[in-house]
Structure formats: C-alpha cells, structure tokens
Symmetry: C2
C-alpha cells in the first residue's frame, strides 16, 4: 500500500531530475466555469507529460544488474518516452511496445529519448502478448505504465506540488486511464488534506474505470474509440482498489466536449494540451453546479499532440 511517506520519498528522489511545473490561472475560463481554476501544467514537464515522475521514481530504484538486462514496457507513448528518458540517463536500454495507431509525435518522443519501439495492435491483449514475448526473449525488466506502486507514488508528486502551491484548493480533477495518475493524486491529496474532493475524468468512449467503480469490480473497456490516445488503457489491479476506496466520483466526458475544452485551453491559456488532459476542463464545464464557487485544481497531464492532425 502506497503511503504519503512513499510519495514524499519519491519526490525527494526525483526532484532534481524533473521540472517543478507552473500552475496557471485564467480569468475568462473562471468566468465561464463559475469556479476558480488552477491548471497544474505537467504538459510542460520533461518528456512532455507527468509520466516522467513515476518512471524516474522507478528507474532510480533499479539495480545495475536490472538495468543491464534492459528495460521494457507497453505504452501509448508518454510513459514510453518518459521511461526511455529515465533509463537513458542511467545508461540503460529501453524497448517500448506501442500500438500501431500511436500519433507520430509520441513515437518520435520515444526515439528521441533513446528508446526502441516494438509495434503491437491497439487492443490491450495485443499489448500484453507482445510484451510477454519480448520479456521471454530478452529477460528485460518490465516497468509497467501504471500497475506498480513505485509508479503510483511518483505520479502522486504532481498533486503534492499543486497543494504545496495552492493549499486551499477544494477539489482536484485528474484524468483516469490505467489509474496511475488518479490513484497517486488520491493518495497524496487525501493524505495532505482530509476534506479535499477528488474526481476522475474519463472518456465516455473508454469508460472502464467509471463502470468498474459503479459495479464495485474491474470490468474491461467496451470501446477505446476516443481521441484521448493517453486514456485507452485498462484500469489496473493495484490502482483500482485505491480509486474505489478514495475517489469522490468519476465523470465521463464525450468526444465533442473533450475537443471543445482542448480548443478552449489552447486559445485562452496559449498552451498545448492533449485531449487526454483537456478532459478535466470538459468534466468541469458539463457539471458547473458541482464545482460552482470552488477552487478547483486540474491535472494537465501532457502536451504531446500531433500538430499535423488537430481535431478541428
């Protein structure tokens, strides 16, 4: 079980190796939402997303022997790039199993950070079978993108920084996919501030976490037909219990709402965010009553977008 102590230790470990990302505000979006919004900008993070937090926390704890065996993972892209950066920094090699529909920019990010891409089909089963084969062949150490306590502790440092900067937040909204970021956010923020509310934001088109929460047990995604290429993974066996225990609710968001909120953030905040991040604003704008008058932190998880294929 990950504790606040683990998250604090992770923060000490990774602090010199990551950016302390800024928190942005925007008066026109405050007016539009009826809430006070605080955007925690991990789109400006090293390797372009929050994933460097968990990856660095994990890789820094590998032994030399483990590193020498090589490191492998499956990733829609951001974890792969982050892991490659963390492993390359320590002089190791990374193999990243990626779906063959991954945006080019995410492939480039893996390669730019020294990782090697191994292709698979977009479905969860293909990701896992290709990875399994790879491990059997090479003996590589797997660093899972989310179902790992070291990863969860690392991802928890993002909300920790946000609450250090803005201790009087009432609420935090985080995207949810495999659950590493949301469970980390829950573990750090609920430990730091007992009465804070934390919501997950998930695409209607990949709503396994929402349905799992309502049913009280893990169920698979029925579709992953969402523009949010970072939110197509399956909720994890380690992350789900934390979410089921601590989350205030999961809000599902349509593709149109995700794209609208993405464009709004680009235009008003002048920053590039993935649809997988703008979903947090979409969740707030469709539930104005729930957030009205509150100070709300939004975890902006990444900014790796293919500029040749924008959704408008």
């Amino acid at each position: 079980m990950v504790t606040l102590k683990d998250i604090e230790a992770a923060h000490e470990r990774i602090r010199p190796l990551i950016h302390r990302t800024p928190v942005f505000t925007n008066s026109s979006l405050n007016k539009l939402s009826g809430a006070e919004l605080y955007f925690k900008c991990d789109n400006f993070q090293k390797a372009g997303s929050f994933k460097i937090r968990g990856a660095t926390n994990t890789v820094e704890q590998l032994t030399i022997e483990e590193l020498n065996r090589g490191v492998a993972t499956t990733s829609s892209g951001n974890h792969g790039a982050a892991l490659s950066m963390a492993v390359t920094r320590r002089g190791g090699k990374t193999k990243v199993v990626m779906p063959n529909n991954t945006p080019e920019i995410k492939v480039n990010n893996v390669e730019r950070n020294g990782g090697e891409v191994v292709w698979c089909e977009p479905e969860q089963e293909s990701r896992e079978s290709v990875l399994k084969e790879l491990i059997e062949k090479t003996g590589a150490v797997v660093v899972h993108p989310y179902n790992d306590e070291r990863i969860m502790a690392g991802q928890g440092t993002c909300a920790k920084e946000l609450l250090e900067d803005y201790p009087d937040l009432d609420t935090i909204v985080s995207p949810v996919s495999g659950g590493g970021l949301l469970s980390g956010t829950l573990l750090s923020s609920k430990a730091l501030k007992a009465n804070i509310q934390v919501f997950g934001a998930e695409p209607v088109e990949a709503d396994d976490a929402y349905r799992s929460l309502k049913l009280g047990k893990i169920v698979p995604n029925e579709t992953i037909n969402t523009i949010c290429d970072g939110l197509r993974a399956q909720i994890g066996t380690l992350t789900f219990p934390v979410i089921a225990d601590l989350v205030d609710d999961i809000i599902t968001v349509t593709e149109e709402e995700i794209i609208d909120s993405m464009r709004m953030i680009w235009e008003r905040l002048k920053m590039i965010v993935e649809p997988s991040s703008s979903i947090t604003l979409g969740a707030i704008l469709k539930n104005k009553d729930r957030f009205n008058g509150k100070k709300v932190g939004l975890i902006i998880s990444g900014g790796n977008v293919d500029l040749d294929h924008l959704p408008w």
Copy 2:
C-alpha cells in the same frame, strides 16, 4: 527620453494588473542551438501578449476627462486587445482601427475585451488616415501602439522581469516591428546591465528597422508580405533613435525560418507562440556562431494565433 526610473515607475503602476510571466527552458533546444535559451513567456500574459504592459501603463495615467472622450488606436490586434482591456477596466470605451486582413482571433480578442473594431486597409497610410478621421469626428484620445514614451516604458518591464529572474544573461533577442518592445527592452536591459547584448529580430519581408539601422535614418517597409501579423508596422520616430543608439544588431529572418522555429517551440515547449515571437528563435538558429555558449533571453511577445489557419 525614457529612463530606467520611468520603467521602474511603470512596473510599480502595472504590477498588480498584469501577470508575472514565467521563464521556460528546454534542454533539446539548448542542444540544437548550442546556447542556453531562456524564453520569457509573455504569450501567457493578460490579453495574450506583452502589449498589456505599455497599454496599462498609459491608460492608468489618463485623466477622467481624457477617458470620457474615448480612447482610439490603430493595431494589428494585440495592442488593440490590450488597450481595450486596460480602458474597459477603468470604465472607458475603445475604438480600434484594424487592417481587414487581421486574423479572426485578434479581432475576437479586441471585442472580448470590450473594444470596438473600425476597419482599414493593411497599408500604413490607410491605418493612419482612418484613425485621423476617427479622431476628428469623435475627439478620442489616441494611444499609439508604440510611438509613445509611456508605451515604451511599459514594454521595458518585460526585459526587466527577465533580468530580475536571470541576472546573468549575456544576450537578449526581441522581435522588432514599430519598435516599442525593442526600445523598451534596450532601455531597461542596458541600464540594468551595461555589458548585455541586445538584438532585434525582424522578418526579411518587413525589414524597415534593419534597413533604417544600416542607413542611419528611417526608411519605410518595401513589403509587409510576412506571416508575422504583429511585425508589419513601421518603425517609429521615438523608438528608432533609441534602437539606433543602443541595439547591437538587427537580424532578419525568412518566412520559412520563422515557421520552422514556431513549430519547434510548439512541439518542444508545448506552448502556443505567434510567428512574430518565434522569429527570435529563428534569429538564433541561423546565427549559431554569434550565440554559441551564451545565456540568451528570448522575448516571447505573444500567443494569439488563429488555430484554424496554421502555417504547416
């Protein structure tokens, strides 16, 4: 003559009304350029550009009688939006003369901030004649976008903040159009640090400042056929003498170099910058020898881009 005292007074005056914008760094662009780059992000500034600095400094000094006559200006957009914001805040009305080829987002920004648009042709002569007619009809007070010492002092606060955060910069690169930002940058940075180098970056396609500098007298633009809609104005009679006296050089940049550098900043720094801002990176990348090993500040002047018409 604008002094450091004037810039310090401007800063005191506007500080509560503007953002203290962050300074970003990026290791991959450092590697590419061979320099240490410090991006001063006024694209995140209120109303989307540095223009709020000079506009606020000026409007805050208007008397109630002046405000009641109404305020007017010509603007390619960013000054118009900023002036409208500053005037609306004090309860006044703004009329903005804008070229009819201005990107829609800049028109929207004027209107969102309470200004009223009055159309003109893109050429400098049309801007001025439409404005003159407007003043004769309404008696409005003109706040010129750059040829005004209050504006120049306000724009100087951007480099002042940058040097407060990074006092050991060797060099600053600023875009140049009418010269308000470059003259303000020169006046503050050369006063704060005697041995700092300051360069202007200007489109080849609108190079009046460059040619004026070489000839030692103001000459007009021969074309304004540049994607940099913020850099099509004519160098001013108040700004040019400061630039001629203090600037280390003006570097001209081609359209292709401007667009390439814009895309690089979007992809690597995950932030939305205008071509009129990315020109600073373009100037550095085409002159690597000149900046090699130096700590270089780049004034990122604005982020108002029409997302439906990207240049790639």
